[in-house]
């Protein structure tokens, strides 16, 4: 294969892989020249000759151009293109095949989009489910159920493959086995992050679509995630925040969604739970609450029925374990807390917990007991 037979997408991928080439710079470069011409400027060291590009390359355009020149001379276009081919990664440019219309019309469209999986996964109604990586059992359960029920209703669930809420939403969507999941990740498509989700990563790629704005080999640097969140917001019609603290990354997604006039909905949480402080704040500001998937489907206009109370088939806690169950409430607590709250001996409390666990009412994780919903 020679350089001549590499399509413009290959040149654009090589441009994206240059050092210190962020989305804004890449957008400026590709707005100025076609990919092949841009690469010629890179090789010549004249990349910052145009004011628009030089502006994006502040504070040191000349230094950056020299840097790019060195890097470009070391790069083989053919190798870059074949590396994408080998991994089954598609590169799309705005307006080209495989590039979603919503992103093309966006105010900050990704200049290059890398994808893996089935591009048809994007065709349909799309809802983003986002939230904290540090969620509670409650948040994880709700995200899982929303993902499962929305996917079963044919809605594409878009999320970020992060730990916590994101992962639970993807798992739910996969469990439904209906509408394919869509994941927008912050790292390169060959850099699995977080490593704990490597299996989930493959499942999503197999059943749905993985999208990234980052070139191959891009590390999951912290700045990539807010940038990635805007892509999630742009792709979704509705953004559902499950659990998030005031400092969480979901904030960026919500702000990006509001700037794009997307509907933002939030799952209510305990007023005492730090990871529900942001979502509860959103509700106070007038966002629509999400009780179950039906609320989201109504917002999408896919169902007219109101959300009804789900049927609980569990046997009610017995007389003996009821005090322990009441003491647990809706927030995680340790065995120690429960003994202190009930004033009972550890032995009595442990019997209550064992019965509640057998009845499917509570679960334990890392020494913390939590109430389970369904």
């Amino acid at each position: 294969m020679s350089e001549v037979s590499v399509p413009p997408e290959g040149w654009a991928a090589a441009l994206a892989g240059l050092p210190a080439m962020g989305p804004a710079r890449l957008r400026a470069v590709l707005a100025t020249w076609a990919p092949v011409a841009a690469w010629a400027h890179m090789l010549a060291g004249t990349a910052c000759s145009r004011p628009a590009v030089a502006l994006a390359c502040r504070p040191d355009p000349a230094g950056l151009a020299a840097h790019w020149r060195v890097a470009a001379r070391r790069t083989s276009i053919v190798d870059v293109w074949e590396a994408h081919h080998r991994r089954g990664i598609t590169v799309s440019l705005p307006g080209g095949p495989g590039y979603p219309t919503e992103l093309h019309l966006d105010t900050e469209p990704p200049a290059v989009l890398f994808s893996r999986g089935d591009p048809a996964a994007l065709e349909g109604r799309r809802v983003a489910i986002v939230g904290s990586r540090r969620c509670t059992r409650y948040g994880r359960d709700v995200a899982y159920e929303l993902g499962r029920d929305l996917a079963a209703a044919g809605v594409r669930v878009v999320s970020g493959l992060a730990l916590g809420v994101d992962g639970a939403a993807h798992r739910g969507a996969l469990a439904a086995g209906a509408a394919p999941p869509v994941a927008v990740v912050g790292s390169g498509l060959d850099v699995v992050y977080p490593p704990a989700h490597s299996a989930l990563w493959e499942q999503v790629a197999g059943a749905g679509l993985l999208l990234s704005e980052a070139p191959l080999g891009a590390r999951p640097e912290p700045w990539r995630f807010p940038v990635r969140n805007r892509v999630i917001a742009a792709l979704a019609e509705v953004v559902v925040v499950v659990e998030s603290s005031d400092k969480g990354g979901s904030r960026h997604t919500v702000e990006a969604a509001m700037a794009r006039d997307r509907l933002v909905m939030a799952v209510p949480g305990s007023v005492r739970s730090p990871v529900s402080s942001y979502t509860n704040g959103l509700l106070a500001d007038g966002c629509h609450p999400v009780r179950d998937a039906l609320d989201v489907l109504v917002a999408l206009g896919l169902s007219s029925a109101g959300g009804g109370a789900p049927v609980d088939r569990r046997e009610a806690p017995g007389q003996e374990e009821a005090p322990v169950f009441d003491a647990l409430g809706w927030e995680p607590a340790t065995f120690d807390d429960l003994c202190a709250r009930t004033g009972r001996s550890p032995g009595q409390v442990s019997v209550g917990l064992a019965r509640l666990q057998a009845g499917g009412w509570v679960a334990e994780r890392a020494g913390w007991w939590e109430r389970i919903t369904t």
Binding site: P332, F335, A340, S350, A358, A366, W368, E370
Partner: protein, 503 residues
């Protein structure tokens, strides 16, 4: 002339008898020591010569050869100074051979002729088969622990010579000064609230189950752990002697009586190296912290701050109760049967837990919890999350139950374990659990449910049953293990797996 003097050298925590042979003959004046002496042993040439001359004796202008038999064993330490000096005196006819017959000697010499203490007196004396042993005065209590010998002391070469020649009586052993009141052990009555933590240390003490306490700073983890030795019964004959030998070999101060009776409590700092913890060393092999806590408690505070490699080195000794340290020169095994108590924060900032305002990045938390590998975590039968006690119980609550009644229950439970033929319930053999720890139908149902739902492995079941046995013993129920006991055992074994398992 030739003289042979019995003495001993340390190999691990055991003493090995050494025959110090001194040969004095005509020839070019010189002094050589052969028979695999290490550096401190070879230096004894200079100490012996100076000590004898300071004591008013003349140095023989002859050829002196010292052989430390058996020559295949490496000898270390300065304890052979005294036997070499005595052998030299006999071989050069300053002393008649009969005067030292049936006498063993241990001690280091000062240049002024004084006789000084050496570490490991207990195992060294135990290795001697002579009727009389001569040791430095401040080692009298230690040497008497062995009990098989007539212990003589001598503070200097002059005193020793006078006594051996019969010119003066043997010096009296030093009178033990007024024994300082031992610091009262911290009492459980100081712990307020903390029902779960108290139960956990009681079960740990009674059954010998390793315990991991997790919780935020200020929850009282260290406070609880320090009260654990006070619940353990005093060491019995064999354990006391082994512990004394180890402490003596490591050069750790022994109690005034010379015998370690209180269960040891060791709390190494998390900067400790693997060698400091396990034992070993290049020049002089020394027992590590795990051996020093033999028959007692090894408390590892801030366990996740220990390097992972150091922690994993604990796994084999925990299983086997001994640690074999192999070096190019020698392999020694140290007894290391200890009760491990670990304390850790849930994450570096200390405030982790679902829904807690933790400030740590996810990666940092994972790195922190990964220090405790799965296999090591599995060895903790008791894993308990403790919370900060609420203000009411700290300020106004009634004092908790004191240590004394708890220690009585622990002693009774340990007695029940002894009747089953084990030291404590943690050692109950798995095949005999059905006989020794039968369960009521209710208890069996709870375990069956856990097994079915995949929350418990087959090995986990054995561990739960042993802990449940201990809990039943503490409750005074000698019969089968009831549902409550199994449930409590399950609740005391929280899954402290890395925080972000599957969703």
């Amino acid at each position: 002339m030739i003289a042979t003097i019995p003495s001993a050298t340390l190999l691990g925590v055991e003493g090995t008898p050494v025959a110090v042979e001194v040969h004095v003959s005509n020839g070019l004046p010189g002094f050589t020591v052969v028979g695999l002496p290490d550096a401190s042993c070879r230096e004894s040439r200079d100490r012996v010569r100076a000590a004898l001359m300071s004591s008013g004796l003349t140095w023989p202008l002859k050829r002196v050869t010292v052989n430390l038999a058996p020559s295949s064993v490496r000898k270390g330490g300065a304890g052979l100074d005294l036997p070499i000096a005595v052998g030299l005196l006999v071989a050069s006819d300053d002393l008649v051979g009969e005067a030292v017959a049936g006498c063993g000697f241990i001690g280091e010499l000062g240049l002024d002729g004084s006789i000084r203490r050496v570490p490991g007196i207990v195992p060294l004396v135990a290795a001697l088969s002579t009727r009389v042993v001569v040791v430095p005065p401040d080692c009298f209590a230690e040497a008497s622990v062995v009990g098989r010998h007539k212990v003589r002391v001598a503070g200097s070469v002059k005193e020793l010579l006078a006594a051996l020649r019969g010119d003066a009586p043997w010096p009296d052993p030093p009178v033990a000064g007024p024994v300082p009141e031992p610091m009262p052990a911290p009492d459980l009555a100081d712990v307020r609230g903390q029902a779960v933590g108290r139960t956990a240390i009681e079960v740990a003490a009674a059954g010998g189950h390793h315990l991991l306490l997790s919780g935020p700073p200020g929850a009282g983890k260290t406070m609880l752990a320090r009260r654990l030795p006070g619940l353990l019964p005093a060491l019995s004959g064999d354990d006391a002697l082994t512990a004394t030998r180890i402490h003596s070999a490591a050069g750790v101060a022994l109690p005034p009586s010379g015998l370690v009776v209180q269960p040891p409590f060791r709390a190494p700092h998390h900067g400790a190296s693997a060698v400091a913890l396990i034992g070993g060393g290049t020049g002089f092999m020394r027992p590590g912290e795990i051996s020093l806590s033999h028959a007692g408690v090894l408390f590892m505070d801030e366990m996740c701050e220990f390097p992972a490699s150091v922690l994993d080195a604990l796994r084999q000794p925990i299983e086997e109760g001994v640690v074999r340290v192999c070096r190019a020169r020698a392999t020694v095994s140290y007894p290391a049967r200890f009760l491990l108590v670990g304390a850790t924060n849930p994450c570096p900032c200390g405030d982790g837990g679902p829904g807690r305002p933790c400030r740590c990045p996810v990666a940092a938390r994972q790195r922190y919890s990964r220090r405790l590998s799965g296999p090591l975590l599995d060895r903790f039968d008791l894993r308990v999350v403790v919370s900060r006690p609420d203000a009411m119980s700290v300020l106004g609550g009634p004092p908790g139950e004191a240590s004394a009644p708890v220690a009585d229950r622990v002693a009774a439970a340990r007695e029940l374990a002894r009747e089953r033929g084990v030291r404590c319930n943690a050692e109950l053999p798995a095949p005999r659990l059905d006989v020794l720890a039968p369960m009521t139908p209710g208890a069996a149902r709870v375990l069956e449910h856990r097994l079915r739902s995949g929350q418990l492995s087959a090995r986990g079941v054995h561990r739960i049953r042993r802990v449940a046995r201990t809990i039943a013993d503490l409750a005074g129920a000698g019969g089968p293990v009831a549902e409550e006991h199994v449930c409590l055992a399950l609740s005391l074994r929280a899954e402290l797996a890395p925080a972000e398992a599957a969703a």
